[in-house]
């Protein structure tokens, strides 16, 4: 099976879906002539032309709305945000337009649109460029929120997102674009809302998603050296969430650590823990522990940034704690 980067996996998904369906177009800052701020759209302008690969001014609120309007009348826009940090300016169009139009119109107007771009922290980008938005987005009904962590998941989920008739928020990662993984040559789709058990064990469950799946696997690899084998449940979609997969794993291991990139308060982990206490109360052998970003704006200094971010060491410490090893 070919090994390709996360970036190329996304590029393949975009190209294949644009070849498949003339209604699909890509719009955003630097997506065309510049070939994408992170080169995800490399070569697409040359293949599909400027009507289908559209450079916009720096005007997130505006072009997110352009996408919603075009989707209302039958096109299938993919709106690229250079980062989800900038998409805050466009949140009105995601929240007040895209997520509500089907409901407010009594089922008349669905909005088949994908909002996508990198989410969360990279390296030393400090407070305004390092934020994780999955819990903000997953809070609202009327959208789906996807967080692929591997090239395989990125391609299969992006293709499903583009074919979905609902608004989909697709969260990538700047630090993921260069990561590599196996991606089959033949076409495949990954269903939205299905978690993936990325490691199997019986000692504890790590429930996570997106970029943190890689951190969870690092932690799992290290723990395995000490003979501790854990489940890594990569949710892949945080809305709708695969509650069954969480339940199955926790019922097996009786312990859980919930790992996420964002802040603690009202984070994705809050919801996961709620599902666990509701569905797995009787099988738990220890309180669930959460690993997340420190409750501060992201600092610039290397040492402080490291201290703020969730990582494998913090995850391992949490697992040892729920196993009463420390």
């Amino acid at each position: 099976m070919p090994v390709i980067t996360y970036r190329d996996a996304l590029n393949q998904a975009l190209r294949e879906e644009m070849q498949r369906d003339d209604r699909v177009f890509l719009m955003g800052e630097e997506v065309a002539v510049y070939q994408g701020a992170y080169k995800v759209s490399k070569g697409l302008l040359q293949e599909f032309g400027e009507m289908r690969v559209v450079d916009t001014p720096i005007t997130e609120l505006g072009f997110a709305g352009v996408g919603v309007g075009a989707a209302m009348v039958g096109l299938r826009p993919i709106i690229e945000f250079m980062t989800w940090n900038f998409a805050v300016l466009a949140l009105d169009q995601v929240l007040n337009s895209a997520s509500k139009l089907l409901y407010m119109s009594g089922g008349q107007f669905n909005v088949p649109i994908v909002f996508r771009g990198p989410n969360g922290a990279a390296l030393q980008l400090s407070a305004q460029h390092s934020q994780s938005f999955e819990s903000w987005l997953a809070h609202m009904p009327g959208v789906k929120v996807l967080t692929p962590g591997t090239p395989y998941d990125a391609k299969g989920l992006l293709k499903s997102a583009i074919r979905d008739d609902n608004p989909v928020c697709f969260l990538e990662g700047e630090m993921l674009y260069n990561t590599k993984g196996e991606v089959p040559e033949e076409e495949y789709l990954i269903p939205i809302g299905k978690a993936d058990l990325k490691r199997e064990g019986d000692a504890c469950s790590i429930i996570t998603s997106g970029k943190m799946a890689l951190v969870a696997m690092q932690a799992a690899d290290q723990l395995a050296k000490d003979g501790i084998h854990v489940d890594v449940v990569d949710l892949r979609t945080v809305r709708p969430m695969d509650v069954e997969a969480i339940k199955t794993s926790v019922e097996k291991t009786n312990r859980a650590v919930v790992l996420e990139e964002g802040w603690e308060i009202c984070g994705i982990g809050t919801q996961v823990v709620d599902y666990i206490q509701r569905d797995c109360f009787d099988v738990l052998d220890a309180p669930v522990i959460r690993v997340h970003q420190a409750d501060v704006p992201m600092p610039y200094a290397k040492n402080l940034e490291r201290a703020a971010k969730p990582d494998a060491a913090k995850t391992i410490a949490a697992i040892r704690k729920v196993m009463y090893l420390d």
Binding site: V66, G69, V73, S105
Partner: protein, 345 residues
């Protein structure tokens, strides 16, 4: 300017057209008078923004459109919905929060939608629908069609970032959208002069290299003349227009504020009410012997009966069933993933 255009229209007065225009405006007026009554009785809840006084804008503009053209508007949307041809029963049932409403009782006063009429909704966040209109224009151009999108908004919208961003892209990409500013002089209770650094709003089009015009919004002929020019420009040359239509609302901003006395004087209101758009058209038709008092009374009775019928229909329509609460949050797409692709046009 407006007067001159109106005179030109008068010279080619068309009694059949004029009667249609009068009927359209009168329907909106009588319908909304019943809305005010229903609101007072508690049959309509939430926010309810009446359009009374501005009917020449909706009727004048929408009377020029083709069935395949698009309309998008704000929360002050009843008049435009009716002028586009939405059934008064459907609009009233929506206002009453009933299952037979255009949005099955999920939207209410601010969110009238009708896909069959390309009526893309009343939108409740000031300015947010303007980029959507630009997107509709983009879709028209993408498909190579010759439709037009009309985007209505109040004058307070021009101070939002969304307006600026949307018009910049429309000017940049040359999209077939007519942005109609219904300048009724007040954004809620704040006068234009207290909110905007530029008072001739149409001049803002210069910032986006968009053709611009201004007309009298109380004179339906003036509105039609100005709108026709803008629509032609969109349809033929795929160019946007910023059209400022100067009008006035005779009611409060919504149902909770005094019609006059706080942010505007009774004298000012009285002055503007002398230029009631329906009265102006009626006088024109009288002068041209196109409408007798008897004709007018008959038409008025007819419109009142239509509105009574809408009221009765809405009153009898059931509330949405509780199952509807969780319907239409998402479209079920489980079968679509393997569906055959579709061409853009």
């Amino acid at each position: 300017m407006a007067k001159k255009k109106s005179d030109q229209s008068k010279s080619a007065s068309d009694p059949t057209l004029n009667l249609d225009l009068l009927r359209s405006m009168l329907l909106q007026r009588r319908f909304e008078e019943r809305c005010a009554e229903a609101y007072a009785l508690g049959k309509i809840g939430g926010f309810c923004h009446l359009y009374i006084g501005q009917e020449a804008v909706s009727t004048g503009t929408l009377s020029l459109l083709r069935p395949d053209d698009y309309i998008i508007t704000t929360y002050r949307d009843h008049g435009q919905a009716l002028a586009r041809g939405m059934a008064p029963r459907s609009v009233m049932a929506e206002l009453f929060g009933r299952i037979d409403g255009c949005a099955r009782g999920k939207g209410g006063s601010m969110h009238m939608f009708d896909k069959s009429l390309n009526f893309l909704g009343g939108h409740g966040i000031v300015g947010a629908h303007v980029p959507l209109a630009t997107g509709v224009g983009f879709a028209i151009k993408y498909r190579g069609g010759d439709q037009v999108c009309i985007c209505f908004m109040g004058e307070s919208v021009v101070n939002t970032g969304a307006f600026h961003e949307a018009l910049n892209m429309a000017g940049l990409w040359k999209l077939p959208v007519v942005y109609v500013i219904e300048n009724n002089r007040y954004g809620m209770g704040t006068a234009l002069e207290r909110a905007s650094a530029i008072h001739d709003i149409f001049e803002r089009g210069a910032s986006y290299n968009i053709p611009r015009a201004v007309c009298d919004g109380q004179d339906v002929f003036a509105v039609r003349t100005a709108a026709q020019e803008a629509i032609d420009r969109a349809r033929t040359d795929s160019l946007p227009t910023l059209l400022e239509v100067r009008t006035y609302r005779f009611m409060g901003h919504s149902m909770s504020d005094a019609v006059s006395g706080t942010y505007r004087t009774k004298a000012e209101l009285d002055e503007y009410m002398k230029r009631d758009p329906i009265a102006l058209l009626r006088v024109h038709m009288h002068e041209n012997n196109e409408l007798s008092d008897e004709d007018l009374q008959k038409l008025d009775e007819e419109m009142k009966a239509v509105c009574q019928d809408a009221w009765d229909f809405a009153d009898k329509s059931p509330e949405p069933p509780l199952e509807a609460l969780f319907e239409d949050v998402l479209v079920d797409t489980t079968s679509d993933a393997t569906a055959e692709p579709v061409a853009a046009d």
